[in-house]
Amino acid sequence: MIRFASVYKDYPKGAALKNVSLHIAKGEFVFLTGHSGAGKSTILKLVYGELRPTAGDVRVSGFSIGDLSPHDLPRLRRRLGVVFQDFRLLDDRTAEENVAFAMEVTGARADSIPAKVMRVLTQVGLAAKASAYPPELSGGEQQRVAIARALVNDPTILVADEPTGNLDERATRGVFQLIREINAGGTAVVMATHDLDLVRQTTYRTVELREGGVVFDSGVDEGSDTTEGLE
């Protein structure tokens, strides 16, 4: 599903990833942890193709990120659901329109959209705010719109960058439960988080980064290629 092979990522002002190798199988759930600035978001940006690796190979769902054609980029992204750390909502569209837009983009049938959108918004507990614009929403509400948008297309991989940073305990539990259900349905999940309580609650695989390198990985078969053929 996702394979990082000796990946390096340099920014003009310094290296963000150093020799990261990582394999995430279909349907797996992985926490990415590490200090602020360790490189979590950088890994996720490589997965959804906002960045290209400086060296090494990143393969996601059969696409090679390093030499992704302009034509393949949208095709990759439609298979992913992404929750951005800074939300990235369109300020001049309502919560509902923001979520619907992600469906329209895939060419979904117009009459199937509203029902699906409302279902996802209800799941994140935002049905009542469907017609509000992002600037009219609280931080946590915006974050939940971003989560709803990531889920609406039933992605094969969910990439979530700090999806509960602005949520209170109850909302965090709700959203996390939702993500687990999605994962139970077969969607691979990569989730960067600072919330160690959340990490400790479960037995999911945890990858810890420090200064751009993987320093801990609870996954056992790291590096094995056995599931690769299934992708």
Binding site: Y48, E50, P70, H71, L73, P74, R75, L76, R77, R78, L80, V82, F84, R88, L89, L90, D92, R93, F101, A102, E104, V105, T106, A110, R149
Partner: protein, 289 residues
């Protein structure tokens, strides 16, 4: 398709101020072009009025028989270049001279015989009033046996020729310059609005929109802005025209407005600029994101 137009129209609703400003810019840029076109058209009209005074005069030998003159008049009127032929008799010539030329009032008062010759005054058609055609007509007139001399104010006509050339070159170049100004300003405006929406475009790409999907509404929006801008420009030009018409009628033979095909061309120009501007701006932007 309906999504395309809906998205484009939503853009107006979502950013009414910015859209209004862009349309205003496009409208006023095209207005500048239109103003220039108005001035140019009316200058050309004025030039045409002056041109109408171009005439060729053939002085006839004394004692030419009237039948010969009548026959020749008919022949000449049939020349492709000729619009009208008028016969001026010797008496008529004297009458005119007495009336018009003060220097000769005294001179002619005492004359026993009329020294002035009869003549044929020939007016040329539109488009034949340049030096070459006039000279050709004059040459043919000289072929008649009873024609003593042919005059047509060569200098004056050559000046007109040059004036026409200059007016044409200057008009065309300045017109192009104005059009270039409009294109640049409009392109810049569209580029600015796209920059303004850079974040929007990048978010669209992040959720998996193809370039075509993103570009479509922008192009439709650009075309609509061009259309509205063009219509605004026409309205402004017409307003200016009305403002002047009253005043101008007092002083000259009036001014003319642009004709429908010219107006249509202006609007098409606006739409194409809107389309092209969006295409370039969005295209360049998509490559960069």
């Amino acid at each position: 398709m309906s999504l395309l137009v809906r998205e484009a129209l939503l853009a107006f609703r979502r950013a009414p101020l910015l859209s209004g400003l862009s349309i205003t810019t496009i409208g006023f840029s095209l207005y500048a072009v239109g103003l220039f076109a108005l001035v140019a058209v009316n200058l050309r009209e004025a030039l045409r009025e002056v041109e109408q005074r171009v005439e060729v005069v053939a002085y006839l030998l004394r004692g030419t028989p009237p039948e010969a003159v009548a026959q020749a008049s008919q022949d000449i009127a049939a020349f492709p270049e000729v619009a009208r032929v008028a016969f001026i008799s010797e008496d008529e010539a004297l009458r005119r001279a007495r009336q018009e030329l003060v220097e000769f009032r005294d001179a002619y008062r005492d004359l026993k015989v009329n020294p002035l010759p009869a003549s044929l005054e020939i007016q040329l058609k539109d488009g034949y009033r340049d030096g070459a055609h006039t000279a050709a007509v004059a040459e043919r007139l000289r072929g008649y046996g009873f024609v003593d001399d042919v005059r047509y104010g060569r200098e004056w006509i050559e000046k007109l020729d040059r004036l026409r050339n200059i007016a044409g070159v200057v008009g065309l170049t300045i017109g192009l310059a104005f059009a270039a100004v409009a294109v640049v300003i409009i392109g810049v405006t569209i580029r600015i609005t796209v920059l303004q929406r850079a974040r929007e475009i990048s978010i669209m790409r992040l959720v998996g929109a193809t370039n075509g999907f993103i570009r479509g509404p922008f192009l439709v929006e650009g075309m609509l802005k061009g259309l509205f801008g063009g219509l605004l420009a026409i309205a402004l030009c017409y307003g200016t025209y009305l403002l002047f018409r009253g005043q101008a009628e007092l002083a000259t033979s009036g001014i003319v407005f642009l004709r429908s095909p010219q107006l249509g061309l202006g609007v098409v120009f606006g739409v194409l600029i809107g389309l092209g501007g969006s295409l370039v701006s969005v295209g360049r932007h998509l490559r960069n994101v």
